[in-house]
Each structure stands twice: as C-alpha cells, then as structure tokens.
C-alpha cells in the first residue's frame, strides 16, 4: 500500500484549473520528484498535501487516513513535514529554541496547557533538540539567533525543525532554489543521508532531481503527463515537449 495516495484531485482558482484529476501514489521510503514548467501546479499540489489549500474534488489518503479537511498542524502531527522554498524558521529565536518547538510538539501534541512546566522537566527534551542540531552540523551555532545564519545553515536548521518531529513524509518545495553550488551539493548530501523517510521533492534543478529521485512525475498545466524512473523521464517525448513548449513562450 502506498504511504500517500492522491486520487483524482482537482483544484480551480476561479476559472483557472490549477490541478486536473491528479493521481499519484508515493511508495513508503522512496524519493519522488515532481517536476514541470512554471505554473504547472507543483507547489499547489504540495499545498493541498499540507492542508493549506482545499481541492474542489478528489481525495488524499496518508497511511490510510484522509488528509482533506484536516488542519495543517494536525497533518504535521500525522507525520508530514514541509521544507519551504525560502527556509521557514523562527528568525528571532535561537537555533536551539527553533528545534525545541517541534520536540515539544512531538511530546505534547498540537496544544497543551503546560504553563508552569519548569526547566528541570524540559531538560530531556532540550537535550534531544541539541542532539538533533548536532546531527545536522549546527552544534557551534546552538545559541545563535536563527536570522544570523547563512542561507545554507538556515536550510539545515529548517531540516532540523522538520526532522525533530520524526516525520514519515517530508515535502520539499525547491529546497535548493537560490543556493550557491556548494550549498546545493550540501543539501543533496543531507537529503541522501536521510534514509527511511519518504520524500516528495519539487525541484527545477535537474541535477538535484536526478541525484535524489527514484521516481519522477511530470506535471504540466495541472495534469500529470508522465511518470517513471529518471531514465524513462529523460527521454520521454511529452516531457521534452512540455519543457520546450515553455521555452518558446
């Protein structure tokens, strides 16, 4: 059974058909890339998966549970985390505080009135957050304000936030956009190291796509026009057409 099952999802923005009868199955443990020209509906599809957008039609099942009509924080609690195009972190807080938040979320659920919990009881959770940070190579920056980090480190921090909750599915929206080459390579390495977590990655950089993805789906004008292994996609006539079509505009 696939971990994520998108069935006949359609979404309209006014008259614009952003997604049309999209069907997609993601197998557990795989890295699945979504590619396609600008405006094809890739980010829209991710927003449907995180509960940000409500489709007009269709269903999305995650691990056998429906995802539609579920709030973003509940979707995250089910085990879906998202890495944004621009690293979404808590800028005015320290790196450690940034990662402590998801650790609390993992223990307490989406809300708990623990207004008087002392530092002693928080200690094991903070230590766990420290381990997570160290694992992603930010140990030296533990108490630095998050907004003073370099772009690459912000991305690492965001990953640490997402991973601290031990997600089962990680959605990545152009994780290397605007990055220098060595930062892109670092990100690829980071993602390759995360074994066992299912990943859906939207990406423009084909280098990144081909070094990470086991399976690729191609979206164009809100529809999936091709699906297959990287080799199959490279030579697919429809894919070439979709990309060349865009290039001519």
């Amino acid at each position: 059974m696939p971990i994520l099952d998108i069935h006949q999802v359609s979404l309209n923005f006014g008259g614009l058909k952003a997604l049309q009868d999209v069907n997609l199955k993601i197998e557990e443990g795989t890295t699945h890339a979504l590619i396609g020209p600008n405006g094809a509906g890739k980010s829209t599809l991710l927003n449907v998966l995180t509960g940000m957008l409500e489709p007009n039609d269709g269903s999305v099942m995650f691990d056998g549970k429906p995802l539609l009509d579920v709030q973003p924080h509940d979707i995250n609690q089910l085990g879906i985390a998202k890495v944004f195009q621009t690293p979404a972190i808590f800028p005015e807080m320290s790196v450690l505080e940034n990662v402590t938040i998801p650790v609390f979320a993992a223990r307490d659920g989406s809300f708990r009135m623990n207004m008087f919990e002392g530092e002693g009881r928080q200690r094991p959770l903070v230590e766990f957050a420290e381990e997570q940070i160290a694992e992603l190579g930010l140990k030296d920056k533990m108490h630095v304000r998050a907004d003073s980090l370099s772009r690459g480190d912000k991305r690492r921090l965001e990953m640490a936030i997402c991973l601290a909750h031990k997600p089962r599915l990680l959605l990545l929206d152009e994780p290397t956009a605007g990055m220098a080459r060595h930062e892109t390579e670092q990100t690829i390495e980071l993602l390759q190291g995360m074994k066992g977590i299912t990943k859906v990655i939207v990406e423009h950089d084909m280098n990144v796509v081909f070094s990470l993805a086991e399976k690729i789906s191609v979206l164009a004008q809100g529809q999936i026009i091709a699906e297959g292994s990287p080799e199959e996609i490279k030579g697919h006539p429809k894919v070439i057409e979709a990309y060349l079509g865009e290039a001519q505009v």
């Binding site: 995180t50 709030q71 973003p72 924080h73 509940d74 995250n76 609690q77 985390a81 998202k82 944004f84 979404a88 972190i89 808590f90 800028p91 005015e92 807080m93 505080e97 402590t100 938040i101 998801p102 609390f104 979320a105 993992a106 307490d108 659920g109 989406s110 809300f111 708990r112 009135m113 623990n114 207004m115 008087f116 919990e117 002392g118 530092e119 928080q122 936030i161 909750h165």
Partner: protein
C-alpha cells in the same frame, strides 16, 4: 542546596522587584510620591505584565483590554455592595466573569491579525463602555460611576492605607512570578514562536490558534485582577475604566518601558503614573504634551523602550 541557588538565580528579577516594591512606602515619599500612588502603581504593574504576555510575546496589540479591567472592576464593586464586603469572593467572581468574557472576545477577534485585530478589540471594548453608560446604567451608575461601596475587608482587616498597599503588592509580586514561570514554560516558547513565524509553527504541528487564545485569556485575567484590585484600592468604579483611553494608556506604558521584557512595562507603568500624578502638578494639562514627546523620543530612538537603555548601559559596563 544547589536547587535553591538555582531558584534564586532564576528568579532574580522577581526578588529585585519584591525588594523595590515592598520598600516603596519608605523611599517613595522622598521623591515626591504620595501614599496611595504606590498602590496604584502596583495595580497597573499587574495589568501591564499580563498585557505584555500578549503584546510583547505573541505580538498581538489589543486596544480593548480596558474591557476586562472595567468589567472586573464593576463586578467587584457590585459584589462588595450586594454580597459581602469581603474582597476575596468579590475578586474571584470578578476575575472569573471577566475571563469568561475574554474567551468569547478572543475567539472572535483572534481570527484576524495586525490592525484588524486591534480595531476589533477596540470595538468590543467600546461596546461594553456604551453598555455601561446606557443600558446597564442602573447597575453601573452610568456617567457618575459606581459608588457607595462599603470599606473593603480582607476577612477582618480593613483594606486601607498600608494594609491595602501590602496586600496588592503581594499579589503583584506573585503575578510577576507567575508571568516569569509562564515565560519559561513551553507555552512561553510557543507565544514567542507565534510572533516569529505563525506559518512555520502551524507546519510544526502546533495549534497556534489555541495558544493565541490561551495567551489572550491569560492577559485578560491579569487585566481583570488589576481591575478588581483597583476597586479594593479605591472603592469607586468610573465608566472611564472601560474606555479606550484606559486601553491606550496600557499600550503606552508597555511601549515606553519595552515590550516583551515583562519588567519594562512595569517600569513604564511606574514612570507614567509617577509623572502623571507628581510632576504634572506643575504642568497641568501640558503634561500630555510632554508625555507625547517622551513617547515619540522613545519610539524613534529607543524602540526597545527603557529596557533597551538598561541593556545598552549594561553592555557598556561589562565591556569595561
């Protein structure tokens, strides 16, 4: 032994506040403060500390907190008049009533952010204000205010002079300690995260809406407690307790002192009440002009308020 040291170290600001507050009757008259003003400062310390949890931590600027202050004040007054002159049941009922109102207002206003939230809270507060002035006049005394309360009693102690000062100061110290505890708790962390990045917080599995409501209600409970104590301090409730002027004053106190620091807004409250009542004796109405100028200077040159000045000084001294 080690734990105890940690306790003192962690709560240093609470002890310093307690020391300054409890010795006020001795040093306050030396700088021209009169007895009674110190009590009023303590009442507003409670108000602004709670308000800071909302404004300074979650970043939600309420222009309607006078509603909770005023509702609790009226409730306390009516309880003292109609039920018992003992302040304990009066305060408890007042805080409960006002806090319940805040749950409803919070649910309705927190759907919006920024200026829309501020305007909505203002609108609700003005609604209560006009209700007190007209519809509920027979209860509230309308324009004349609620008067004729018996001398408030703490069981057998008359709430006058020193007794009322020490009682209210004790509550203020306790409430400051509670706020510090909240600040350090997971809830405090979520409050700050709301101000930083609500989207990321939602995508991290946190129900930001519930934490916002909790913070709103906590700050309203602080305002309510202050409102109830205001009546204990002076058995009178004026309609202006509910007015926008009252809400605005709290905002100005917080900003002058430095939001998000808990201590700063208390400094702001003390500063404003002191100047308003002591220095303005010579200035008269001109006082508002001076206040306006002080406010502008702080906002333009020291957006972090008095606390920014304090930390700048601290940095300079430690450098040397």
């Amino acid at each position: 032994m080690k734990m105890q040291q940690g306790f003192f170290e962690r709560n240093r600001s609470v002890f310093i506040f307690a020391l300054i507050a409890l010795t006020m009757p001795f040093w306050f008259p030396l700088i021209g403060g009169y007895s009674g003003l110190d009590t009023k400062i303590m009442v507003f310390c409670i108000f602004v500390v709670g308000f800071d949890l909302l404004l300074g931590y979650t970043g939600y600027l309420s222009f309607g907190h006078a509603a909770f202050f005023g509702i609790a004040a009226y409730t306390t007054g009516l309880m003292l008049k109609g039920f018992s002159d003992n302040i304990i049941p009066a305060i408890i009922v007042a805080v409960i009533v006002s806090t319940l109102v805040s749950v409803v207002i919070g649910l309705l206003t927190l759907k919006r952010t920024g200026i829309y939230f501020s305007i909505l809270t203002l609108a609700f507060a003005e609604m209560f204000h006009s209700m007190a002035m007209a519809m509920l006049q027979q209860w509230t005394g309308g324009e004349n205010g609620l008067t004729g309360m018996p001398t408030p009693m703490l069981f057998s102690i008359k709430m006058q002079g020193d007794a009322v000062f020490y009682f209210i100061t004790f509550v203020a110290i306790l409430m400051f300690y509670v706020a510090k505890r909240i600040e350090r708790s997971p809830v405090g962390l979520m409050m700050r995260a709301i101000k930083c990045n609500q989207t990321r917080l939602e995508y991290t599995g946190i129900n930001a809406r519930k934490y916002k409501l909790l913070t709103f209600v906590i700050s309203a409970a602080y305002a309510a407690l202050a409102g109830a104590l205001m009546v204990v301090y002076e058995p009178f409730v004026g309609h202006e307790f509910l007015g926008w002027h009252q809400s605005g004053e709290i905002v100005i106190m917080s900003v002058i002192g430095g939001v998000g620091t808990l201590v700063g807004p208390m400094l702001g409250a003390a500063f404003m009440l002191y100047f308003e009542n002591v220095l303005s004796v010579d200035l008269g109405e001109q006082w508002l002009l001076v206040l306006g100028m002080i406010f502008m200077v702080v906002v333009i040159f020291m957006p972090g308020g008095f606390m920014e000045a304090v930390s700048r000084l601290q940095a300079r001294f430690t450098q040397k």
